[in-house]
């Protein structure tokens, strides 16, 4: 299991929690795991999110590995000018 930190605006869709545990070995599994546990998050994840894994921001890739002790933060999708 890996702890996933949500931005606080998402608490409304995750039973009031801003940190949840999912079973995941990569970023893609983190996202599918989140939706499986909290279907309310689906619209957010479908709209696009980025994930910070151990301080590195994964803008879009689903294959980046995640370890059980990784620090994982869900972030709003990154883009640029």
């Amino acid at each position: 299991m890996v702890e996933v930190n949500l931005w606080s605006g998402l608490r409304a869709f995750a039973d009031g929690k801003d940190c949840v545990e999912v079973d995941a070995k990569n970023v893609g599994e983190v996202l599918t795991g989140l939706v499986a546990q909290y279907p309310g998050l689906e619209h957010v994840i479908e709209a696009g999110v980025s994930v910070a894994v151990d301080g590195k921001v994964i803008a879009s890739g689903l294959t980046e590995p995640v370890k059980p002790d990784s620090e994982v933060y869900l972030m709003q999708q990154l883009k640029g000018g």
Binding site: F13, H43, A52, A59, G81
Partner: protein, 749 residues
């Protein structure tokens, strides 16, 4: 170099101030920009635009226009695909209005004719009947209960209940307990700030040339920051298969984020299909201002607590962004960037994305971040003044660094904010005396940077030179840095690499040139493509020598045995290997396709001196210094150029640039005469310091540099002007009437 090795020193070409490969074309007028392309039999198009901020389109009558000699065809929304959803539907809706015109300048129809003059005349003869609706252009007013509803049902589920339907997205993040933090502070400052929308102001208006037959096979030439994105969006809007549309990016006359979207390209394609002729469509300057993407305007509240020693105990910000008549104002970036430079135990940031009757905002250099810095860094400056603390010392005390927790959550990797602050502190500018009437301002700024889908191919020629094909349009000299990186890896002269921006038929997908990603991502891909080619070269040498591939190394443009045990062979220079490549296994091509995810963030610290004429409110920028972390500067001259350009745009944003809407909801200043970007006589030389804290996510340590440079200027200038004027300026632009009004208010209460 092995495929994934990191190289940090002994560079031969990287770091040199080489001349750009397209230099001669650019100084002789040969370079082909968007409007410079022609096709046999081509028609010229013009767009009919709404003069109303908000109106239902009742009827479009082209009868009179069609009677004009030379007119060949019209398109309206009915000529585009149906069934689009979400963001793509928004883009189509913006490209060509459906039921309603949502802002002054919104396209409602288009015409193609045999000359540009006839097309313009025809556009004037198209009769559009509107039912005028109530409008709102101000972000705060758009959130009020009685504001007209711009689009029903546009809000997503993030928006808390009870908000006006114009509030379409909501963001909240942070950690700790801000109330406890404020309670622990010796001083809390809370204030509200406003910024107006600004435009990227690229000098080249959008332009394109389209061909599209009844067989739905198309060609498009356009000035864009990302032609694969244009291909994808246009194909969808025209109902074509993506691969049937080939898009070629012309030279691009500035973008800064504003050419990441599509505006006229689908219209030109639709007209081309309708008339069965090539169609050229070029925007006028006023169309650029009225109907492309400016930034959001903002209304912001920021509250920060500080101890008397300068430790920030808590920070809280609310950021309301108006992004035009469509969702997408970058309020989450405003929120996430706001406190990013600081290591805060208690922080909370809230963002609102609000609709208004204005054009759909587009990215502009670090979208959302400069406004956040304006609000936050102004409050920090006020705290420093009130507590009599040095602004750089305070920022150093609170600075984010490797291992601290970012305001938006994660733990920072290696970052260079402290290094920029230290370099600013010791820069002669910071200790230089100020004259009467002058003030000095300091600000930090932050931007995430981006990786994105990237494809690069490097093909070796028989003579040992290299053709490098990248897919990211060159918006500021990037072909030079790409060629430098390829030359470095191959061990050949810089001039022996020809870097080209390839069309969509030539490479895999490439994300738009945005997010300061080009030198990072296309650079990384170039290095890896070159290493892939080198691997083949080494294999060819190994085969020739009859030794193991692993026993061959690549140095100085030659294959060499890796050591005495590998065998005793003379080095094989690249041209010997390429000359025989057809007979030793075929052409040698390295390529790399990936979505690199290691774009390092970038921080900057700016110092600025401003002089304010207290009788007229006029501000003069007298000295400016940019200090920014570039990770590794591939071509320092062009890195400096990015720093200077961002600072200059920030100066414009801070002092004079703004979208001015009348009571009628129409844009009043859609010309360069009244949309006042800095001219040469407005600016001083802009000093630069390149800090290099390598990005662990790039083989040479590159961090994107294009965007961060616009994050600190608004605040740095506001802090300088506030010092010089003796009154805090909280609204941008700090135009002379606003400065005089602030002085007057201070004097008369």
């Amino acid at each position: 170099m092995a495929f994934d090795d990191v190289k940090t020193d002994n560079f031969k070409v990287v770091g040199q101030r080489v001349k750009r490969p397209d230099g001669i074309d650019k100084v002789t007028g040969k370079a082909k920009f968007g409007a410079d392309v022609v096709a046999p039999g081509m028609l010229f198009a013009a767009i009919i635009r709404s003069p109303h901020a908000h109106a239902r389109i009742v009827k479009i009558d082209t009868t009179k226009a069609a009677a004009l000699k030379g007119v060949k065809g019209f398109v309206t929304r009915a000529d585009f695909a149906t069934g689009l959803k979400g963001g793509n539907l928004d883009i189509l809706e913006n490209v060509m209005a459906g039921e309603k015109a949502l802002y002054d300048g919104h396209a409602v129809a288009a015409v193609a004719a045999t000359s540009a003059l006839i097309a313009r005349d025809a556009a004037k003869l198209v009769e559009v009947e509107y039912e005028i609706l109530p409008h709102v252009t101000d972000v705060d007013k758009a959130m009020l209960a009685d504001a007209p509803v711009i689009r029903e049902g546009a809000a997503d589920k993030s928006v808390p209940e009870g908000m006006h339907p114009n509030v379409v997205r909501y963001h909240e993040s942070g950690h700790g307990d801000v109330e406890a933090g404020f309670a622990a502070a010796d001083l809390v400052v809370e204030d509200s700030f406003l910024t107006e929308a600004t435009h990227q102001g690229y000098i080249e208006p959008h332009a394109c040339l389209a061909q599209l037959g009844k067989d739905n096979k198309g060609e498009l030439w356009c000035c864009t920051q990302g032609h694969w994105n244009v291909q994808k969006l246009c194909a969808e809007m025209l109902g074509m298969e993506t691969s049937q549309l080939r898009v070629t990016a012309s030279e691009i006359g500035g973008g800064f984020g504003g050419k990441t979207a599509v505006f006229i390209e689908p219209v030109a394609l639709a007209l081309a299909r309708k008339t069965n002729r090539p169609v050229k469509l070029v925007m006028s300057r006023s169309e650029v201002f009225r109907a492309t993407g400016p930034t959001s305007s903002t209304s912001m509240d920021v509250k920060i607590g500080m101890t008397k020693d300068g430790i920030i105990t808590a920070g809280e910000g609310t950021f309301r962004l108006q992004g035009g008549a469509f969702p997408g104002a970058p309020m989450e970036f405003t929120a996430m960037c706001a406190f990013a430079p600081y290591n805060l135990e208690n922080v909370k940031q809230v963002g609102y994305d609000v609709l208004a009757n204005r054009p759909k905002q587009a990215a502009y250099r670090a979208p959302g971040s400069p406004m956040a810095a304006f609000a936050v860094e102004s409050v920090i400056d006020e705290l420093c003044k009130k507590l009599d603390l040095d602004p750089i010392e305070v920022r150093l005390k609170n600075a984010s660094k490797q291992g601290t927790k970012a305001s938006f959550g994660p733990t920072w990797d290696r970052i260079g904010l402290v290094e920029t602050l230290e370099a600013a502190q010791t820069h002669p500018h910071y200790s230089a005396p100020l004259k009467e009437g002058q003030g000095r301002g300091v600000s930090c700024g932050f931007w995430f940077n981006h990786g994105g889908e990237t494809s690069v191919t490097l093909a070796l020629s028989e003579d040992g030179t290299a053709q490098l094909s990248v897919g990211t349009p060159d918006i500021g000299g990037s072909r030079a840095s790409m060629a430098q990186m390829a030359a470095e890896e191959l061990g050949i002269p810089y001039d022996s690499v020809r870097a080209t921006v390839a069309d969509t038929a030539t490479l895999g997908y490439n994300e738009v040139s945005h997010g300061s990603r080009v030198t990072y991502a296309s650079g990384l891909a170039t290095i890896k493509a070159a290493r892939a080619a080198v691997k083949i070269l080494c294999a060819r040498a190994a085969a020739k020598w009859g030794i193991d591939e692993d026993a061959v190394v690549w140095e100085d443009g030659c294959a060499k045995p890796s050591g005495p045990n590998a065998g005793d062979f003379d080095p094989l220079p690249i041209e010997k290997l390429t000359r025989s490549m057809g007979r030793t296994g075929g052409p040698i091509v390295g390529h790399f396709e990936a979505t690199p995810e290691g774009a390092g963030v970038s921080f900057a610290t700016h110092i600025v001196d401003a002089e304010v004429d207290k009788e007229t409110g006029q501000t003069k920028i007298v000295r400016y210094t940019v200090v920014q972390d570039a990770g590794k500067a591939i071509n320092p001259t062009y890195v400096e150029g990015q720093f200077q350009g961002g600072a200059a745009q920030g100066i414009g944003w801070a002092l004079n640039e703004e979208y001015i809407y009348g009571e009628d909801g129409r844009l009043q200043n859609a010309v360069f005469l009244d949309y006042r970007i800095p001219v040469a006589s407005d600016l001083p030389m802009i000093d630069t310091v390149i800090v290099e804290v390598p990005n662990p996510g790039h083989p040479y340590g590159v961090r994107g540099v294009g965007e961060t440079s616009i994050c600190p200027p608004l605040a740095a200038i506001a802090n300088a002007v506030s010092s010089a004027a003796g009154v805090r300026l909280k609204q941008l632009p700090m135009s002379p009437p606003r400065i005089l009004a602030a002085l007057d208010k201070q004097a008369n209460g």
